[in-house]
Point group: C2
Chain length 312, copies 2
C-alpha cells in the first residue's frame, strides 16, 4: 500500500544520516543531518511539555460514546472561559445536542429549543474578538500569513497580531473552539459552541470569539453525519447527536482526569519542531517546502501514561 506523507507521531524514529561539513578552520567534521519531526519529539525533555490546567480542560461526552477534550484560552477570552465553566458546572449542556454539522466548516452544539435556564451563568457577554498584544508570550512564526500582519503561537494556541493596532487574536484553525453568536457582536456567550472541522476558515478571525481548541477526539466530531438544512443544521430532532455531558476536568476526581501534555510553544524544542514542519525531512519527501502556514504547524499533544507520570 502506498502512503502519501507521514504522520508526525506515528513515525518510527529514523536514524539521522551524517553529512560532512567544513569548519571555518577548514577541518572536516561530521555534522549530523537536521532532525525529523519524530526525532525532535523523541529527543524532547519533560520540560518541553506543558500540563494544561484542569480548570481549562473541557470533556464533551457524546451520548453515543466518544469524548472530545478541549482546552480553553482564558488569556484571550477570559469572560467566555469563565462563563463556559459556569455553564458546565450547572450541567447546562447535558442532554442538549449537536445541532449542526456543515461540511468543510463547523460542528455546533447547543439547546435546540432555546428553553434551558442558564442559572448564574450568562446568556450573552461582551465580545472577546481580540485583546491587547502586550504581555503575551508570543512565539512569532516568520513564514508570513495571508490574513494577518504577524502570526505565531501563544501557549499552544495559533494566534495573530497587528503591531499597528496593538491587537492580538486567536486564529481559526482546524480544531478551533468558538462561541456561536447571532448578528450582534455581543450576542454570544457560550451557550452555543462550535469546532472547526474543515479547511481553516480564517475569515472568521476577529468576527467571533474564539474560546480554545480541541486537544483530543476531533474524529468524534468530524465523522458525524452532515446536516442537510441551511448552514448544515439538522432538519429533524431525531437527527440531533445527543450530548451526555460537558464537564470541567478540574471538577472530576483525579482518577477520572485524562492526563494530556501539550508541546510548549516557547522553547528551542518548539523552534526545532516548527523547522521540521517547514522542511519535512522524512525520506518520502523529495522537495522541501521551506515554509509552513500557521494552521499547518500543528501543536503536538501526547497522552501521559501512568508510568511516565509516576516517574516524573
Amino acid at each position: 500500500m502506498k502512503s502519501i506523507g507521514f504522520s508526525t507521531l506515528m513515525l518510527s524514529f529514523l536514524t539521522g544520516s551524517a553529512i560532512a561539513a567544513q569548519t571555518d578552520a577548514g577541518k572536516a567534521i561530521e555534522k549530523p543531518a537536521p532532525p525529523t519531526t519524530a526525532q525532535v519529539l523523541a529527543n524532547s525533555s519533560a520540560h518541553d511539555w506543558r500540563q494544561p490546567d484542569p480548570a481549562n480542560l473541557l470533556y464533551l461526552d457524546l451520548a453515543g460514546g466518544g469524548r472530545v477534550i478541549m482546552e480553553l484560552a482564558p488569556a484571550f477570552a477570559p469572560r467566555h472561559a469563565d462563563n463556559i465553566r459556569a455553564l458546565a458546572r450547572e450541567h447546562y449542556f447535558d442532554q442538549l445536542a449537536i445541532l449542526r454539522v456543515q461540511e468543510n466548516y463547523v460542528v455546533q452544539w447547543g439547546d435546540p429549543d432555546g428553553k434551558r435556564e442558564v442559572g448564574k451563568a450568562k446568556r450573552t457577554l461582551p465580545a472577546e474578538f481580540f485583546r491587547s498584544a502586550t504581555g503575551l508570550n508570543f512565539s512569532w512564526l516568520p513564514d508570513g500569513d495571508v490574513y494577518a500582519p504577524e502570526v505565531g503561537f501563544v501557549d499552544g494556541f495559533a494566534a495573530a497580531r497587528n503591531s499597528e493596532t496593538g491587537q492580538a487574536w486567536l486564529a481559526h484553525c482546524y480544531g478551533t473552539l468558538g462561541v456561536g453568536r447571532d448578528m450582534g457582536a455581543d450576542s454570544g456567550g457560550g451557550t452555543e459552541l462550535y469546532v472547526v472541522i474543515g479547511h481553516s476558515p480564517r475569515h472568521l478571525d476577529r468576527n467571533i470569539t474564539v474560546a480554545g481548541r480541541v486537544l483530543q477526539g476531533m474524529e468524534k466530531l468530524t465523522v458525524l453525519p452532515r446536516g442537510t438544512g441551511a448552514l448544515g443544521f439538522y432538519e429533524k430532532p431525531e437527527q440531533y447527536v445527543s450530548i451526555q455531558s460537558l464537564r470541567v476536568a478540574a471538577d472530576l476526581p483525579e482518577a477520572e482526569q485524562v492526563p494530556l501534555e501539550v508541546l510548549r510553544t516557547d522553547t528551542p524544542t518548539w523552534n526545532a519542531y516548527v523547522d521540521t514542519r517547514r522542511n519535512r525531512r522524512d525520506s518520502w519527501f523529495l522537495e522541501p517546502t521551506g515554509h509552513v502556514e500557521l494552521c499547518n504547524v500543528g501543536v503536538p499533544v501526547r497522552a501521559v501514561t501512568m508510568l511516565a507520570k509516576a516517574g516524573q
Copy 2:
C-alpha cells in the same frame, strides 16, 4: 439557534443597500453597495459557468451508497489522467476498497492485496508534480501565499507558479485528488488515489502528482471512520469501505450522467466572486478580512436541473 458565518450557496439573496457617492463632477448619485457572494452568483450568466468534459469526470460509487464526483486535470497530469481513465475502463477499482482514512489528512483507496491486474493500464508512471507555466489560463490571486511565489486558478483548479523556474503545479487544497506513491517519485500511477479531507496540506505540493479535485460528494468521504493503524490505515479487512465502481462519466449513457457546472475562473464574474470571498459582505460579518487564501476561495459547483438544461 446561533449561526457562525454563512454558507455561500444557501444564502437567500439579499437586496444590496445603496450608499451615496460623489461623482467627479460633484453630483451626488446612488452607488449600489458591492454585492455579496450570493448576489454575484445569482447575477451570473450561463457563460460564467463551465460544463466539465465528461471524459474528465469520475464517479466513485461506494458499495454502501454514496457517490463522489471528481474532475481530472489533464492540463497538469495528462499521463495520469489517461491512466486513471484506462484503469476505470478496465473496472480496476470495482470491489476494491478505501483502505485509509487519516484524520485531518486524506482518504485513500486501492487494492488491499496488490494482486489485481492492471491490463493495458500502467502500474507506475513518470511523476507529474509540475509542468511548464507557459500556455496556462492562469487567473492570478493577488492576495499572496505562504508556500508559493504566485497562486491562482487554472480552469477551476487551485494552482501555483514560480516565474523563476517557469514551473506551475496544482495545490493541495481540501478536496484535492492525488495519486499515491511509494518512496520513488515515479512509483505512483493511479492504482492508489487519495482525497484531502482536512486542512489543506500544502507541504505535499510538488511532492506527489495531483490528478484533479472533488466536485461533489465530499461528505461521503469525510464521515468515514478513521483508521486506527499507522497513517490512518484500517487494520482489519472487515473495516475496509468497499467500492462498487469507479467510472468515467463519458462512458455512461447520457441519462446516467450527472449534469454539473463549475464557475469559470477567468471571467469578470469570477473576479467579483473572489472579491466577495476576500471581503465578506453578508451582514453577519463585522470585520472584513481584506484577503483570501488560495484554498479558502472555493470554486462553486452547481447542479444543472433538467429544466435549466433544456432551456439553454
